[in-house]
Symmetry: C2
Subunit: 438 residues, 2 copies
Amino acid sequence: MSQEKRIYKPNKIAGFPEWLPEERLVEQKWFDHIRKVFESYGFCNIETPSVEELDVLTAKGEVDKEIYVIERLHKDENDKKEARLALHFDQTVPMARYVAMNFNNLVFPFKRYQMQRVWRGERPQMGRMREFYQCDIDIINVDNLPISFDAEVAAVMYEVLEGLNIGRVQLRINNRKILMGLLESWGFEDYVPVTRAVDKFEKIGKDAVVKLLVDEAKLTTEQVDKVLSLVSIKGTAEDIRAIVPANETMKQGVEELSFVLENLKHLPAHAVVGDLTIVRGLDYYTGTVYETQLLDVPEFTGSVCSGGRYDDLAGSYINKHLPGVGISIGFSRLFDVMRQTRPDLLKIGPKSPAHVMMTVPENESDRPLAYNTARALRKRDIKVEMYHAPKKMGDQLKYASRKLIPYVWLIRDGKHEVKDMTAQTQNTVDPGTWTPKS
Amino acid sequence: MSQEKRIYKPNKIAGFPEWLPEERLVEQKWFDHIRKVFESYGFCNIETPSVEELDVLTAKGEVDKEIYVIERLHKDENDKKEARLALHFDQTVPMARYVAMNFNNLVFPFKRYQMQRVWRGERPQMGRMREFYQCDIDIINVDNLPISFDAEVAAVMYEVLEGLNIGRVQLRINNRKILMGLLESWGFEDYVPVTRAVDKFEKIGKDAVVKLLVDEAKLTTEQVDKVLSLVSIKGTAEDIRAIVPANETMKQGVEELSFVLENLKHLPAHAVVGDLTIVRGLDYYTGTVYETQLLDVPEFTGSVCSGGRYDDLAGSYINKHLPGVGISIGFSRLFDVMRQTRPDLLKIGPKSPAHVMMTVPENESDRPLAYNTARALRKRDIKVEMYHAPKKMGDQLKYASRKLIPYVWLIRDGKHEVKDMTAQTQNTVDPGTWTPKS
């Protein structure tokens, strides 16, 4: 029965990554590890729909990220009666909306983690991803949120990153109240031009920042000097505590930052640093701010994991005061950079999750034993792929070898042998007790 | 600092479900179980982007599911140069496209599982979901696919469903070649009107099916009787083998179906039945077809898990012959029906994944020990939420109780006690060896 086939050759869609099975296996290990650490601190998981009402996404005003809207291909009159829907561009807005809508069913402080895809309509030629995973933790409370959480989210994220085998990681932490307090003491109400300028320090260099501080933020030369000397401070809780505050706001910032650093002293020396250049571009942070650097992977530029404290996140959707603190990993970019530049660390391996490939025995009479053994091994949490047809042992072994399955199980005349595909050794085994080396 | 707040009250978006943290915890357990079973048989995971080129989704012709297209909110000239993108409506088309594009990097037979969200632009008033999870397994091979896989995917899905605590599950299996062969022997080339009529048996009843077979499929009364007597066959491998084939196609169907049933004899008696009424509406199945019934949850109507064998799936995207067999769980609908109608089986519980809540000790001098103990317990895979502020023990216990965290840890003068919140007992413990009852 021959048939004329029409073939449509699909194209790669720029900005929408997908991985091979062996890459996905490593990605799954990353997700499992992250989830395990999040949950070990009692963060619960939520998932929100991929879409929100467009009005929810823009409730705080113009969004600086490009949004994708969705529409039914065959629209009719009914579509006009429905709210316009758009794919979420982060997990913070959806979480705020979720907290507002489920306020009475949540226990506060609400500690949640979220690991979903987000979408941004970036120009693909910029090499940016248009669909990617983020892994976020946030804690939200009613009216007041203890400062101990600012230390906790940092500790959690350090433990997450430290377990991903991406070399040494450094959290750089600041508190915006320090700089805000200084500006306040000079009578400035709008601190945004100053934080925006300082935020660019590493990118544009000192001279350009000075120019911005004078031209845009309208600081005097003396004030510029004081700002620069303040933001040059880097160090431990003790170094931060040495800062002489100009007013109450600045004092609070110094106290909060030194408290947070103090509470992270159980981490290795390189893990955490107080760094007053970290101010974050976003306007809504009001206290602690975080950025993270990979010390051993220069291929990864910028911050792999950032966040901070905000005074009132869900206030656009509910008439409550809900302060929060949170931190977010740009998961897919990190994974992709490691995948492309550091296969030595990522260790892409098998194309199958199986520990063992069970061969189809050469004697038909051994076949039921092969199936039963496979089932018994699975009950002991050993993953067993059954070979699919009676074929020469050489062909069966070749399949296991191409998939990099570490062990092959052979049965002959009721006797069990296991071949270690890495060591290329073969031994008689007891099927009731054998376990794979992990 | 008072501020005029503008509040936008968000609306529930019909068809886009989201769950409370305690519901999500159960959903996660379901996903973990499903993944564990899939992997225990050596299926690897893949994820594809949420979108495909619209031309990929429609490559086989008009799609009977309503598609969502995505567009940047602020379009410009460049958008016109790019392919139109749409959210995938199932995981089969994306898998076929993936196999075609990555053909040279995959090892065949390619066994993959996929658990992603899919989107359909259903009218929300029909109570259907517009965003939901599917859990699929498929095996694809080049040119020939051994029939043993048709038994394997059924065994895997039975094990999956059996572990979800949704009562007894029955897989109903047929082979389309049996009915196709009979029709062929009468000179019919187009068997679709017949399978479409038979597929409606349970919904519209015998008389209506007879009418369809005569009026639409143009069968004689004698032929109708033979078809009805054939599709009334239900039973074991032996019952199927008793069918007298009218030609080679029918003989193949009988052999394949009895082979599959034979290979599922290790499952409980109720688990599998050969059932010739199962023909599936979809046209592309060419052999084995599956449906699944929940025997103890009448609230769930229809098939929870369906699939079958197809001769050539990726042929729209690559010039290869790639037969496959696969089966798919409509995950979110199953979870939602169980959630709404059978809380007795679903057992929604804690609002936190934590095993233990560590209290903040009343004596400041015990505090470092509390933090260190929490860290040590986490190292032993015990999930510990640290209470966030020094407060009265009563308040701390109340928080654990509201979240249904099963154990509370108390430290006083260097001594450790654990309160079992269910049994309401409190005992001195050794922090190095204590473990929660699961």
